[in-house]
């Protein structure tokens, strides 16, 4: 439920694995590749990670969310490699007895992931390519 993956992400499978009968809510965030960025038409993205460190930061982040919020299990999976427009780059899913904590934890997880997990995207647009450094 936590880690990097170079094959397509499957949010529904994660939800099914995550949820237990004590949970009344599952909040899911799916990040997807959009077709434009900074005025350019995006063809596709490549995601690169520092894999050993990214896996560790993802696990640490999930543990931190479970300490801070009244939630159950967490799924945190980031895709790597080439992604076409419309594909999912990241799935954050949080199961909890009640929805408020699940929403808050989900927001915390995606916002913190973007700041702390060593992953970068390279954008291939019409007419060139460029690393995106910082968001």
């Amino acid at each position: 439920l936590i880690g990097l993956q170079d094959s397509p992400l499957e949010p529904q499978r994660l939800i099914d694995e995550l949820r237990s009968d004590g949970d009344g809510a599952v909040v899911v965030f799916v990040g997807t590749v959009r077709d434009h960025n900074r005025g350019r038409r995006v063809r596709y993205l490549e995601y690169h990670a520092y894999p050993e460190m990214a896996e560790r930061e993802l696990r640490r982040l999930a543990a931190e969310a479970r300490e801070r919020y009244s939630i159950g299990d967490v799924a945190l999976v980031h895709r790597t490699g080439r992604l076409d427009v419309g594909e999912a780059s990241v799935v954050v899913a949080v199961a909890a007895p009640h929805r408020a904590a699940a929403f808050e934890a989900c927001r915390f997880l995606i916002d913190t992931l973007k700041r702390t997990v060593p992953i970068w995207k390279k954008e291939f647009f019409e007419g060139g390519e460029a690393w995106i450094e910082g968001s």
Binding site: S89, L113, R115, T116, G134
Partner: protein
Amino acid sequence: MKVEVRYFAGLVDHTGRTRDSLHVADDADVRELWRELVRRYPRLGDLGYRPLVACDLEYADWEQALAGVREVAFLPPLSGG
């Protein structure tokens, strides 16, 4: 002593490599290692940002001593998600 250095994202383009193995002084810190890298790869001197640093998979600062550190990674501003 020897440290493994790893580069990611745009830093791979600037150095032309993903990793190096370097000898540094026993009392060297991250900042001194970076100075040595800028001598080797002058393009690192004008990045326009300051890389993040990780020592043995943990974020570190530029004053971190390298004694006992096996791997130092330099990370451009992150853009996951």
